[in-house]
Amino acid sequence: MDTTVRDLSQKQGSALISVENLHAGYGKIEALHGISFHVEQGEIVTLIGSNGAGKSSTLKALMRLAPPESPTVTSGEIRCKGQSLLNVEPHNVVDRFKMTLVPEGRHIFGNLTVMENLHLAAWTRKNEDTRKSLDHIFGLFPRLAERARQRSDTLSGGEQQMLAVGRALMTNCSVILLDEPSMGLAPVLMYDMFRTLKRLNDSGLTIVVVEQNARLALEVADRGYVLDTGEIVAEGSGEELMRRPEIMEAYLGG
């Protein structure tokens, strides 16, 4: 399976993001054992798998975040728009490659107000008028508009997740990576969040989403990859993966 995946990805010279035989780890412990995948412009791609499969590590490696929180790439290649990201600093991944991450656990700036969080995310858009983006975000998440002047650590979990996504949109990125966006959300909010992501995708945003709730992710995703202990063990369209009983049993809880 490993070789076929690699062959496939090597044919994809034109992919927006392509990861080739990526090995990465924390110190001496390798977390990713040569994974390869690609993301096309305008797709929703999901990475699914159990705890410790390397999903979050993959996203952090894509963003080029620094250790110790993120893995160090030992070999392989990450390309965005044909260019290698390996020697790019994380803030330049956002600034030049227009890709950002909504991290697991949201990581909003709790000591800043909702508005300050959003303004700060427009850092790379210094001389632009950001009012349109703000209106867009408040249109998607009306709750944030109500709480604009509130310290963001006073928001509920769902609202914090909205802010985390809103902040990512505010950077004006064309690719957004999401790490467990449904974590800690009530089912209703979870479906709302994924509906919103689908809407954003319809208007052109490329999305890579890591999810524990694989069924939900596969329903909205164009394609999915299944990770197991640092390797990609299956790939296919969302429907395909959901139809395969052995995958459903092993990774999706039946």
Binding site: M63, L65, A66, P67, P68, E69, E89, P90, H91, V93, V94, D95, T100, L101, P103, H107, I108, F109, G110, N111, L112, E116, H119, L120, A121, W123, T124, R167, A168, T171
Partner: protein, 324 residues
């Protein structure tokens, strides 16, 4: 440290024979000046701690370096073989030069000592020990380079003494106190209103997420060190103008005390650093004024201990919430 006792003597009281009330107000004025120095140093401690959770123990020595830089710069401007400027012009030029050069020293320290450790993701404890060593390197480097002889800052200002109903206030005292106030308000403005200040507050909360907004973390950190060291440089210069004898260890004890002031105020909060600096100076000066002066530090620190006992996170401190 004994040989330095002259340096640590507090501003003397020119109206010793005055009425108790006047004497008290006179001591208050002195405490305001003395507290200004503590506050200016404590602000730098609290800035770096607030943003990075790093106690920059070299900061007191940055203050010393600032005093020396002002000495060299002003001597150069005044020397007859150099530009031979007038005193007013020399003063006007020495201030920005000292601030810029001292912040350069702070940034260099961050660059060569702290950043490599941060890159490796080591525990904060090692960075703090490194800071302690950097301070010792600055002190002893100064000693090796310039020798043990003390330097005296040239006179940059004509001293005027204003007598206001029996209370003596010099123009220098007013300048020191006003500078501390101005610096505080400027810093408060930067931190609460500017974009970079917003980024500094964001780092204080969560440095992991900052690059995800496209913000270069290193630039925010360098800016923090620039601010802190620049303010310490300004403080060092004003200190050298007030007590014009410089020696390599002048930053050590003052730095420690300013650090304690910052902790008592609530480290990480700039109002805390400011209030803590003045509080420490008031306690010190009042103890020295009304009790034998050997009691000064014992009483001062006992009182601070009591404050921390009551409020372990300092006057303005809140456990792990809004720093800076």
């Amino acid at each position: 440290m004994l040989s330095l006792s002259g340096l640590w003597s507090l501003p003397c009281n020119p109206t010793a024979s005055a009425q108790p009330m006047e004497q008290f107000i006179q001591q208050c004025v002195n405490a305001l000046q003395w507290g200004s120095f503590y506050a200016l140093i404590a602000l730098g401690y609290t800035l770096v701690y607030g943003v990075l959770r790093l106690i920059n123990f070299a900061h007191g020595d940055i203050f010393m370096v600032g005093a020396y830089i002002s000495f060299f710069v002003s001597t150069f401007f005044l020397s007859s073989s150099g530009p031979a400027l007038s005193r007013d012009l020399a003063l006007a030029l020495t201030i920005p030069c000292t601030v810029v050069l001292t912040s350069g020293v702070g940034v260099t320290l961050e660059r060569i000592a702290y950043r490599p450790l941060r890159r490796k993701g080591v525990h904060r404890l090692y960075v703090v020990i490194t800071a302690l060593m950097c301070g010792l390197v600055l002190e002893n480097g100064n000693l090796a380079l310039l020798g043990a002889s003390r330097k005296a800052l040239p006179d940059l200002l004509d001293k005027h003494i204003y007598m206001i109903s029996g209370i003596a206030v010099t123009n220098l005292k007013l300048i020191v106190i006003c500078t501390a106030l101005l610096v505080f308000f400027a810093l408060h403005f930067i931190v609460t209103r500017s974009r970079i200040g917003m980024a500094m507050r964001a780092v204080a909360w969560d440095e992991f997420a900052l690059p995800l907004m496209g913000i270069p973390l290193d630039r925010v950190i360098v800016f923090t060190f620039m601010l802190g060291s620049g303010i310490a440089g300004l403080g060092g210069m004003l200190f050298a103008m007030s007590y014009p004898v410089l020696d390599p260890y002048m930053g050590a004890m003052t730095g420690w005390k300013a650090f304690i002031a910052a902790v008592v105020g609530g480290i990480g909060d700039i109002r805390g650093a400011f209030v803590g600096g003045f509080l420490l100076a008031f306690v010190e000066i009042m103890v020295a004024a009304f009790l034998p002066s050997t009691f000064r530090d014992l009483f001062a620190f006992s009182i601070l201990l009591l404050i921390l006992w009551k409020r372990p996170t300092g006057i303005f401190g809140m456990p792990m919430s809004t720093k800076i």
